[in-house]
Amino acid sequence: MDQIIVQILNGLDKGSAYALIALGLTLIFGTLGVVNFAHGALFMLGAFCAVIFNRLLSLSHKVVDESRTDFLGNPMQVDVPYVHEWFGQAAGDALINWSVPLSILFAIPVMLLVGVIMERGLIKHFYKRPHADQILVTFGLAIVLQEIIKYFFGANPIQTPAPDAFRGSLDFGVWLGFDPLTIMYPYWRLVYFFFAAIIIAGVFAFLQFTTFGMVVRAGMADRETVGLLGIDIDKRFTFMFGLAAAVAGIAGVMYAPIVAPNYHMGMDFLVLSFVVVVVGGMGSLPGAVAAGFLLGILESFASMPAVTQFLPGINQIIIYLVAIIVLLTRPRGLMGRKGVMEE
């Protein structure tokens, strides 16, 4: 029993990342009808927003400290971050320590901007072209974004630690009446799960309860009629692209402490997220979220020793296997709408 709970918990954080990326992919697909292969790159850009923000906060300059001397007897030079000077020692350290959660504030405008530029500058010209062309051009864009990041940050992963308060693990089992130390769960992963849940709820609430969201939903259902009613749907869809980019971006920001950002992390997630979207059903937002968590949890179940003994290697292929079975038995995915992407 405790093993099962451990696996469910392990699946949650990966599932949250899949769900967030898949949510953005589906938003783009549902609104603009574009298959965005660069979405993984947006996730990666988000993770690097955390890196950039951390570096910005740690910017420092050399100050001569009279009270200390180096080994030659000269006054020692010490690196002092600017934030120490501006906000004082304690507040400055706290800022640097909390840089990952704080970089969300930095990432949202940046990613919105990236998304809007991408849509206006490139994707706009591909609405009328076949899906294969959209896949190819966004695939090319993903390569370009990835290489730009590689040029500036190198090929090695960059460690981006979580705030001190969230290091260590929570003894989750004690709450449920198990022995101590049987079910341990890192705090940050718990944070990631709740964060993902809040974002997903936020996006759904935005679409469901605001006028803007209502118009967008109407546009997803019947774009032409909304246009005929005198609503500039293009502008709203452009914003939705930016929103999807921002969702992918902050998913990346918060994931940075779990997996150290490197330039190809986006591609690794993209392949799986596409499988998630297809399993969930192209164009269905609840489907994407449900499939994301489902596949994340299935993946961690499949890597249990009891299962791999019985079916060796199943943990490597479970997601793809499920995708093949779902696509062949339920051609529209788990919650796909009729008439979407059926050609």
Partner: protein
């Protein structure tokens, strides 16, 4: 403009058949025969053409005429030709073609380890096994089209990769892959104890090379390369025949309008499956040749980036054209092996004639695009091709040629008017 090309493509078969009936060239129309002859000449003379700069000169690093790279040009050419039969004709975008390449490679290396180090049985085995695998994958994947098809093929390829990497280690050698070792005793060969079998064609070593030195130039003629070249010419000839056959017309029909095809009482399924299997066989052949050249294989050959690479090659060169995929493959492999070696010292050498400040500035601008950053250039070029030149480099060439022809025609018109 693209309409024109597709129209000539569609009309050509009838014209070809009439020519073939009147004892034409190898069953090809005149233009196709000319194209085949150009490809034959280019591949056979490649050791000269790819080494235009004398050894030791500053430009010698742009020479691509060494056996290893030339082999890669033609092998990936075969891979891309095969991919193009599927994507270029039917429009089904497979993101998992590297799986067939990998299966072919594993089949070939086992033949060479167990049966004989002669490459022929290995290559035949690679084609057969790739075909069998393609039948299975194709039968399942082709039940869906569009992006679903892409995801299904991707899923199959990633599964093969993951399995080859982990569970199938007894067969695939896992992470380290497979090589021919001194303990391998192929039962048809009479190897002395401790002797390592070498890939050969009836006793001719694949690695044997003849070096011709003319003045400062050095040309290498490698047996392995010529074996690959002959295979590629055959593969290219087969591709032309497929493009011009009634079967090829059916595949084009699948691409242009499946619904209409259904209404005329034809099922697209057998045609697309046949195209899928044929292109899988081409991939297997390429995999077998790879093993025949370097006698080793690892699972990374099946990773999805390898599948992505062949997509890049085909699109960059020109999907749906005959020569495009070969050009694209050569182009990307040239970039990967030559342009990636340019470092900042070499750049400083190039811009040395400029004043110091300007030199550093130019180097700083160019540097991100060459050397280790060659992927950036590739990505930008690929995007540019998809956006502006859907027909790839071939369409670019045609446009330029047409521009010249029009200018010449205009010149002729003004001349005749003056007379």
């Amino acid at each position: 403009m693209t309409d024109q090309t597709t129209q000539t493509g569609a009309i050509a078969p009838q014209a070809d058949r009439s020519r073939a009936a009147s004892g034409g060239f190898l069953g090809l129309g005149f233009r196709d025969f000319r194209l085949l002859m150009i490809v034959v000449a280019l591949t056979l003379l490649a050791p000269f053409l790819l080494n235009p700069f004398p050894e030791g000169s500053a430009m010698a690093q742009f020479n691509a005429g060494y056996p290893d790279l030339m082999q890669r040009f033609v092998i990936f050419g075969i891979f891309a030709i095969g991919f193009n039969i599927l994507f270029g004709l039917t429009g089904y975008l497979s993101f998992g073609h590297a799986a067939f390449l990998g299966v072919g490679s594993y089949a070939a290396i086992w033949m060479m380890k167990l049966v004989t180090t002669n490459i022929i049985p290995g290559i035949i085995a690679s084609i057969i096994f790739a075909a069998l695998f393609a039948v299975v994958v194709g039968f399942i994947s082709l039940r869906r089209s569009g992006i679903y098809f892409s995801i299904l093929t991707l899923a199959f390829a990633q599964m093969s990769y993951a399995l080859a990497y982990s569970v199938l280690t007894p067969i695939t050698g896992g992470e380290t892959g497979l090589q021919i070792k001194s303990t391998d005793r192929p039962f048809l060969d009479n190897l002395e104890p401790g002797q390592i079998g070498r890939a050969n064609l009836f006793g001719i070593d694949m690695r044997a090379s003849q070096i011709l030195e003319v003045g400062g130039w050095q040309f290498t003629f490698n047996v392995g390369y010529y074996v690959c070249a002959v295979v590629m010419i055959l593969a290219f000839y087969m591709a032309i025949r497929i493009f011009r056959s009634p079967f090829g017309m059916m595949l084009r029909a699948v691409k242009s309008n499946q619904q209409r095809m259904n209404y005329t009482g034809l099922s697209p399924k057998p045609y697309t499956l046949a195209a899928f299997v044929i292109s899988g066989m081409y991939a297997g052949l390429a995999g077998g040749l790879m093993v025949a050249m370097d006698t080793q294989v690892g699972p990374e050959r099946m990773f999805w980036t390898a599948s992505g690479e062949v997509v890049l090659m085909t699109i960059l060169g020109g999907a749906g054209t005959l020569i495009g995929p070969v050009l694209g493959a050569g182009f990307i492999k040239y970039f990967e092996n030559i342009v990636s070696k340019i470092n900042s010292d070499i750049l400083h050498g190039w811009f040395a004639f400029l004043p110091d400040g300007l030199e550093d500035f130019m180097v700083a601008i160019v540097y991100p695009f060459v050397g280790k950053g060659w992927h950036l250039t590739l990505g930008l070029m690929f995007m540019a091709v998809v956006i502006f030149l859907p027909g790839g480099l071939v369409e670019g060439g045609q446009r330029i040629a047409r521009l010249f022809r029009r200018r010449k025609a205009a010149d002729g018109a003004t001349k005749s008017a003056a007379e």
